[in-house]
């Protein structure tokens, strides 16, 4: 036997009303149609608006169905909005760890890099924006896959980039489970020889993963000699991810 959650039921009803109305509706009209008090209705509609399911007209304040419902398969955060929110925190992370910082969003074929902060050592580097990283061989890839909406999945063939790349499906599935439990992923010379990375999810509304932030650098800067990543590296990346998620307006 299941019990419904009343506000979710009402939210569904509001979406149905808007879908069927054929024109934008005022709050009073929606509340009246449902037989609810305006404050109650307002609370639900405001949350629906914040998650992108309902659109509110800037001038008239009337409500209509938002893009978020029509395109549920799309990420809930625009990648350039994400970059804009992440910029100052990413710079601070690069400054603090002296490592390269990357921000990526999930795409069908991998983790799509939307922002890149150079390693602050004045070495010659190239911007990696628009690179797509494989799910199975990179920390960013593992995180966007583990915490994303599930639409993306690695191809059946797991290409070997280095001797350490995970190429067996069953090994990869176990790794993803570990990543979900821990809340972060690492990469140890699995994509580029000598290079390691740590990645943490960026969460949107409801805790859904909308992207990931990672630090990347030479193996010894990321990993302890025998064992996992340096605590400080993981902590700094976790803090940055938290700050970015909060900046997106998400209560974490």
């Amino acid at each position: 036997m299941t019990t419904s959650i009343q506000s979710v039921e009402r939210a569904a009803a509001i979406l149905r009303i808007l879908a069927g109305a054929g024109r934008p509706l005022r709050l009073a009209e929606i509340a009246g149609a449902l037989g609810l008090a305006k404050p109650t209705t307002f609370g639900i509609i405001r949350t629906l608006r914040d998650v992108g399911f309902v659109h509110q007209d800037r001038t008239t304040s009337d409500y209509s169905l938002g893009d978020g419902v029509r395109h549920l398969e799309r990420a809930s955060v625009d990648p350039h909005d994400l970059r804009s929110h992440a910029m100052n925190w990413s710079d601070a992370l690069a400054s603090r760890t002296r490592l390269e910082v990357l921000i990526a969003v999930p795409q069908l074929d991998g983790a799509h890099i939307v922002h890149h902060v150079f390693r602050p050592d004045d070495s010659e580097q190239d911007l990696r924006v628009d690179e797509v990283l494989p799910f199975h061989a990179t920390a960013l890839g593992k995180v966007v896959l583990a915490f994303g909406a599930g639409m993306a999945s690695p191809s059946p063939e797991l290409e070997a980039y280095t001797q350490r790349t995970i190429t067996r499906r069953v090994t990869f599935d176990a790794e993803i489970l570990r990543v979900r439990e821990r809340g972060w992923a690492s990469e140890r010379a699995e994509f580029i020889p000598g290079i390691g990375a740590v990645s943490v999810p960026l969460r949107g509304f409801g805790g859904l993963g909308v992207g990931a932030v990672a630090v990347s650098g030479p193996l010894e800067r990321i990993f302890r000699h025998a064992g996992g990543p340096h605590d400080e590296v993981v902590a700094a990346t976790l803090e940055t991810a938290s700050a970015i998620s909060r900046s997106l307006g998400v209560r974490t």
Binding site: D78, H80, D91, A92, S95, V117, F118, P120, D122, L127
Partner: protein
């Protein structure tokens, strides 16, 4: 306890206080907005008392955030919105009348009068600036003419004038109780009352504008101890002051001739260090002081200001409503491959550098039924790049100064497509530094140098780390074709407004 340097950036829409450590890294940031007043079309005002109250509150906030005490602050540097004019009562400490901002255009008749009297040549020769509503001198004249009793009291030294840094320094050092009344050369160079060669107030300009000398601050360098703070920053020396664009140039460590920076915000400001000789460009870009450190000879710069860059994106968002947020202009622009043959010239309030046509207005050319909103978004971003190109070309033509690279800062540096296009169009590397608050950093650097917190300019250059570089990829033939089209588009925007019949 390791010490920090404090910096205040008093900007057009908000004030901020930041603390920096010895590596030039941000330790804390406190920010507060203030009211914008638009009492009439073309009038833009702030409340100087409100600004001072905000700045006072920010300082303890920044200290708390970084968990440091006043004794840990080695010095304070100030950067400010330039040209905004404040007049205040020396005995009460309150401002008299509104702070008239740099965007305000009410002084057009005072400027028009100077032009009609044939004074333009002389004014440019002395100050380097063409008569324009942009600058503080005409505003001060307006305040003296329109507030009864001020002129007499100004002559008697009871009423003082200053740009924002003067107002803040006076208040920070005690106000009515021993406040120090000074200005720095970069701010003074934007008043249209300072001789750009001698770096002192020009008697000729004071006569032309009928401004009493007694009310003017003393002009000082950008890096010296002006006084000591009382109140929340008790005992901290104020050791640096700079106009915000010069502070950004300094914070970007543009210490050699040819070093250039462009700040991309609501408008864009491109400054190039031109070295120790006063530059004499044609009427395209404006000569100004880059910085003068203590007793060292001044370093000059030229400045090209572009009125509409970020504000064009805001127009797409707020007026045309084709994007939800400003960053989404990049998403929309990337939905198409190029501008589709259309060009936007955003001369919404005339054209600034290098064409300086106040009668120009915005235009979109090349529209066909093929054009979608993606092309419009693309054209809007390209307009920013081409306006930058025009300023760089003017500098190259007038002064023979080529750019080797361009250092960038400001909100629009988060737009990857735009930054790549700027690199393509200018055919130079575009570099973004790791610390984006270059204005505050510049003010902190000046103050830190004065008190010996940092040894010299070399030390400051070593703090600078690149966060990103965009390298040019555009084939020369494409640049040639597109620049020609851009110039043709601008021709359509020029002279649109005919002056009203008198």
């Amino acid at each position: 306890m390791s010490t920090v340097i404090a910096a205040i950036d008093q900007g057009t829409t908000s004030s901020r206080c930041m603390l920096f450590d010895r590596q030039g890294r941000t330790q804390s940031l406190a920010q507060r907005e203030h009211h914008q007043y638009f009492p009439q079309p073309g009038w833009v005002q702030h409340d100087a008392d409100e600004i001072w109250r905000n700045v006072r509150r920010l300082v303890p906030q920044a200290l708390d955030q970084a968990r440091v005490g006043v004794r840990d602050v080695a010095a304070l540097g100030i950067a400010n919105q330039r040209e905004t004019t404040v007049v205040w009562d020396r005995t009460t400490g309150h401002s008299l009348g509104p702070a008239i901002t740099w965007q305000d255009t009410r002084t057009s008749h005072i400027v028009g009068d100077l032009l009609a009297r044939g004074e333009e040549e002389r004014i440019v020769d002395i100050t380097g600036l063409p008569p324009h509503t942009y600058f503080a001198g005409p505003r001060l004249r307006w305040l003296l003419d329109h507030r009864p009793g001020i002129r007499e009291r100004a002559v008697a030294g009871e009423v003082l004038f200053g740009t924002i840094e003067s107002w803040l320094i006076w208040n920070l050092t005690g106000g009515v109780d021993g406040g120090v009344h000074v200005s720095d050369v970069t701010n003074a160079s934007r008043t249209m009352m300072m001789d750009l060669s001698t770096l002192s107030w020009s008697d000729t300009m004071l006569d032309l504008l009928d401004v009493p000398r007694a009310m003017l601050p003393q002009i000082r360098s950008n890096a010296e101890v002006y006084g000591t703070c009382v109140g929340d920053l008790e005992g901290v020396p104020i050791a640096g002051a700079m106009g915000d664009q010069q502070a950004a140039l300094f914070g970007q460590t543009c210490f050699s001739p040819g070093d250039a920076k462009c700040t991309y915000g609501t408008g864009a400001f491109l400054l190039v260090n031109t070295g120790p000789e006063r530059p004499r460009p044609e009427r395209t870009v404006l000569p100004t002081v880059a910085y003068a450190l203590g007793d060292a000879p001044p370093v000059y710069a030229v400045e090209g200001s572009i009125a509409m860059t970020g504000s064009l994106v805001q127009w797409l968002r707020d007026s045309l409503e084709i994007i939800e947020t400003a960053p989404q202009v990049e998403t929309l622009a990337r939905s198409v491959d190029d501008n589709g043959g259309c060009y936007i010239v955003p001369a919404f309030s005339g054209l600034f550098a290098p064409r300086w046509d106040p009668d120009a207005r915005g235009t979109i050319v090349g529209l066909t039924s093929y054009i979608r909103k993606g092309h419009i978004a693309r054209a809007a971003l390209e307009a920013t790049a081409w306006q930058t190109w025009e300023v760089v070309e003017a500098i190259r033509h007038d002064l023979g100064q080529d750019l080797e690279s361009l250092r960038v800062d400001g909100g629009m540096t988060s737009n990857h497509l735009l930054m790549q296009y700027v690199a393509d169009v200018l055919d130079v590397d575009v570099e973004r530094p790791l610390v984006s608050e270059t204005v505050c950093l510049g003010a902190a650097y000046a103050a830190g140098l004065t008190v010996g917190y940092w040894a010299d300019l070399n030390t400051l250059s070593h703090h600078r780390h690149l966060a990103a570089v965009w390298r040019p990829t555009m084939p020369p033939a494409v640049r040639q074709r597109e620049s020609t089209q851009w110039n043709r588009a601008v021709e359509h925007a020029l002279g649109w407004m005919t002056p009203p019949a008198t």
